[in-house]
């Protein structure tokens, strides 16, 4: 398949303006004739649904939560980037663009990232106007903090709850439209498949989680804003119910899945404490502004941190990356933590942890300043570990946090399936092989508030009257398949719970496709995953019934999709014979253990095309052309 990104011609700075100027428009009286389905109500979905409805389209927004306020965007702590240069520290649209492309290890699409940097300022304006209580200075102007991978302070924040406040902003805009009757909101509703009619995405099949009812929804366009697929690893910082079902089913209906192996392992999470663990909790990267990361110099040093003298501590990030220090990007910091733990210098009971120490910051600034900046994070840490981080250093370890890969989209955020748009973490386009901190919120809101509302019209303008009826044969077919799967699960009566399979898959993924990946390990994973999947379908046990609330059944569908997606993830990781960003192939590293890219062969997007059950997916490539910057080896030293 030829993947056409449809990037507008002309200078980088003028591409977005040109795109908008050249776009087809839908006149106001026609807008109300279009139905758009938005799946997901996080930052991207919520902001898109609200904005499309404001424009006059008829919007149906669905989410599996009880309320559109719950999506996992809410858990983002640190902040949102924008090229406002309020700090007068040399920031600009170009610098935010460059930092993001460099942070992504030169594996993102230049034009998309530049546009993201361009609209970043509007996001802050929009959210401030909604009443989002951003942190302020005494003069009443907005405050900023710095974040990993940047040498300017461009991150706007609302205490340690920025994601919550931005999401509640989008939720308030969405709620206003629901109240006005322009958005039909369907909570407790899970998308179980995509309906494609004559090659265009024209509808979805859903299950009502309360009643078990299977419903058909036809539309002129379908927007997926369903987040990332990190729960393929089972243990992650994602919400427990986050899943890949919507994007995976869309993939199986023809949408290409791009760069699945680009997964982000966040360096500052609370370490795993036992087998029973259901999720990992992130300690915001913002802590690295003031915390110093270290391990003992000596292997197997079991002394309490306070008993280890200064000259026997290894502040390894400061040592290895003096100019970025503790603010080195996430992929680099995570790998460095893994290295010191592999050397046997990890701390805590399991040896899988490093210290994040605030002693210096507290003696420099006083405890009250640290409390003001990070109080809620220290509280979270205390609740989980029962330790007081004002007195003893935090213990942290990397954990799966974000997925840069996702469905392939063109410059207008449309997938290769016409009529299917993909926003936020669910698409692949802006973060390359590694995402910088405070850029996820930026991208979700950019896509939903400012990009999609200016691109969807290009598709819709030619589609008036093409919306099929839900009686169309394609709906029958897809609904039958959905029901068949559900019946299989409920009648299978096997011996193992869904969770036990999820856990096993997660362990497998983390072992063979986690922070360090090898040809041998990935080949092994590609043998083991299909075996596990086969056992899953034969031996899974789902109690309960169909026509009612059934959490085991919900989870079974999601884990079934993870089983397939996990395999594609490993295949992608095996095929990408280089290291870049969050994808680290141990065979490809520099003498001092840094990621070694092979730009001549791999400066491209890998977009996988589904070929049918049991068949090897087809690899399509979109080559990444950098017209405005030179690809370079990332250097944070």
């Amino acid at each position: 398949m030829k993947l056409d990104a449809k990037i507008p011609s002309g200078p980088l700075k003028e591409k977005w303006e040109k795109y908008i100027a050249d776009s087809k428009l839908v006149n106001p009286t026609n807008k109300r004739k279009y139905d758009i389905i938005v799946v997901g109500s996080g930052l991207a979905g919520g902001s898109a649904a609200a904005t499309l409805a404001e424009l006059g389209y008829r919007v149906k927004c669905i989410c599996f939560h009880d309320s559109p306020r719950r999506a996992h965007s809410i858990a983002a702590q640190g902040g949102v980037n924008a090229a406002k240069n309020y700090q007068n520290d040399g920031d600009s649209v170009y610098r935010l663009f460059y930092d993001t492309v460099k942070g992504g290890d030169f594996r993102s699409r230049e034009a998309n990232v530049y546009r993201l940097a361009q609209v970043s300022s509007n996001i802050i304006d929009q959210c401030a106007a909604q009443g989002v209580p951003f942190a302020r200075e005494y003069g009443g102007l907005l405050a900023n903090r710095s974040f990993g991978g940047a040498q300017v302070s461009r991150t706007f924040y609302a205490r340690g709850q920025t994601g919550q406040q931005l999401l509640l902003g989008a939720y308030s805009a969405l709620s206003r439209q629901i109240g006005l009757g322009t958005v039909e909101m369907l909570p407790y509703t899970e998308m179980l498949d995509l309906v494609v009619v004559d090659g265009h995405a024209k509808g979805i099949i859903t299950r009502n989680l309360v009643t078990g009812e299977i419903d058909r929804h036809a539309a002129d366009a379908v927007v997926l804003a369903t987040g990332g697929y990190g729960n393929v690893f089972n243990l992650s910082t994602y919400a427990r119910n986050s899943n890949a079902t919507a994007i995976w089913r869309a993939h199986k209906r023809g949408a290409c899945f791009a760069n699945p192996c680009y997964t982000q392992i966040h360096p500052t999470c609370i370490p795993v404490s036992g087998e029973y663990q259901s999720k990992l909790t992130l300690m915001s990267e913002s802590l690295r502004n003031d915390g110093r990361i270290w391990v003992p110099k000596k292997v197997g040093d079991k002394r309490a941190p306070g008993d280890i003298p200064e000259d026997e501590r290894d502040y390894y990030l400061e040592r290895k990356y003096p100019s970025f220090g503790n603010l080195a990007p996430r992929d680099i910091s995570s790998r460095a933590a893994k290295q010191v733990c592999d050397e046997g210098r990890g701390v805590g009971e399991t040896g899988l942890g490093v210290y994040l120490d605030f002693e210096d910051a507290i003696s420099r600034l006083g405890e009250s300043v640290i409390r003001e900046r990070y109080g809620n994070l220290f509280d979270i840490y205390k609740e989980i570990t029962n330790e007081n981080a004002y007195e003893v250093p935090m213990r942290i370890y990397p954990a799966v946090h974000y997925t840069m890969g996702g469905l392939w989209v063109d410059y207008g955020l449309m997938s290769n399936l016409p009529g299917l748009f993909v926003l936020g973490e669910a698409n692949f386009s802006d973060h390359g092989a590694n995402r910088l901190g405070a850029s996820a919120l930026m991208q979700g809101l950019a896509d939903g508030y400012f990009v999609l509302p200016n691109t969807i019209n290009n598709y819709l303008a030619g589609q008036l009257g093409n919306r099929p009826s839900t009686d169309h044969a394609s709906f029958d077919e897809v609904e039958d398949e959905v029901k068949e799967t559900i019946n299989h699960f409920l009648n299978n009566k096997g011996k193992r719970s869904v969770s036990s399979f999820h856990k096993e898959l997660g362990n497998l993924m983390w072992t063979y496709c986690g922070m360090g990946r090898t040809k041998e390990g990935l080949t092994k994973a590609l043998e083991l995953i299909p075996q596990l999947r086969e056992e899953f379908w034969k031996n899974v046990n789902i109690p309960g019934e169909e026509g009612e609330w059934n959490q085991s059944l919900e989870k079974a569908g999601r884990v079934a999709d993870f089983m397939e997606l996990g395999e594609l993830l490993c295949r992608d990781a095996l095929t990408r014979e280089e290291s870049c960003g969050g994808h680290f192939r141990e065979e490809h590293q520099t003498g001092d253990g840094e990621a070694l890219r092979h730009d001549d062969e791999f400066a491209s997007v890998f977009a996988w095309e589904y070929q049918g059950k049991g068949k090897t997916p087809l690899l399509n490539k979109e080559s990444l052309e950098y017209e405005n910057i030179q690809m370079a080896t990332r250097n944070y030293k």
Partner: protein
Amino acid sequence: MKVKIKVWRQKNQESKGGFKVYDSPELNSNMSFLEMLDVINEDLTDQGEEPIAFDHDCREGICGTCSLVIDGKPHGPHQGVATCQTYMRSFEDGDIITVEPFRADPFPIIKDLVVNRKPFDKIIQAGGFVTVRTGSAPDANAIPISKEVADTAMDAAACIGCGACVAACKNASAMLFVGAKVSQLNGLPQGQAEKDNRVLNMVAAMDEAGFGNCTNQYECSAVCPKLITHDFISQLNRDFVAATVRKSFKSKPSTAKL
């Protein structure tokens, strides 16, 4: 450690529920309360019994999905945390722990411990927003807001919409929830234009959904996982009275919902 849980089981909204007692397997005191329910559910599944339905998602105290009344207290024994942030180290070996759903008429039980909190969304839809069309906002620094005002707005905005305030209140009042949102937006310059309509419409939606009135016992703020202060209820009352008075002086009071 091991515990017994005495837990509310109810097949659906129409059926009559009742308590059932289950023994936990061996637990680790560092487990979260929800992880304890996970392992009991694994046992139940293996024994062919339906697992206990309970709401949860982020498991880090921010999404507001988890609920549960644990030994009579919404969100369990500790102040300032949600159920998902409650750990087994807060209980003793051999404890019998009672686990119930949030109980309030406006929150019908869907199954076991899961309740429907849709009326909260209805209240926000009635006025919990600033009307600002995407793309029409002025530069964010064009409206300076003093740090104190912004901080107070943030204190109010920290609400996670879990409904514990309602579950704790003998009147099933939602006034802490409504007060927090009204105080956040009415306290900021951006929220001034719609100040009166906001409070009147939100209170009307609250009443319509069947939530009771506040009789100043403050169980709500005592159980709030975000420790939202009941001062915001006073603010709500003040804004409500002021808006009512101002409306009464207008020749044609607007009843249009925004």
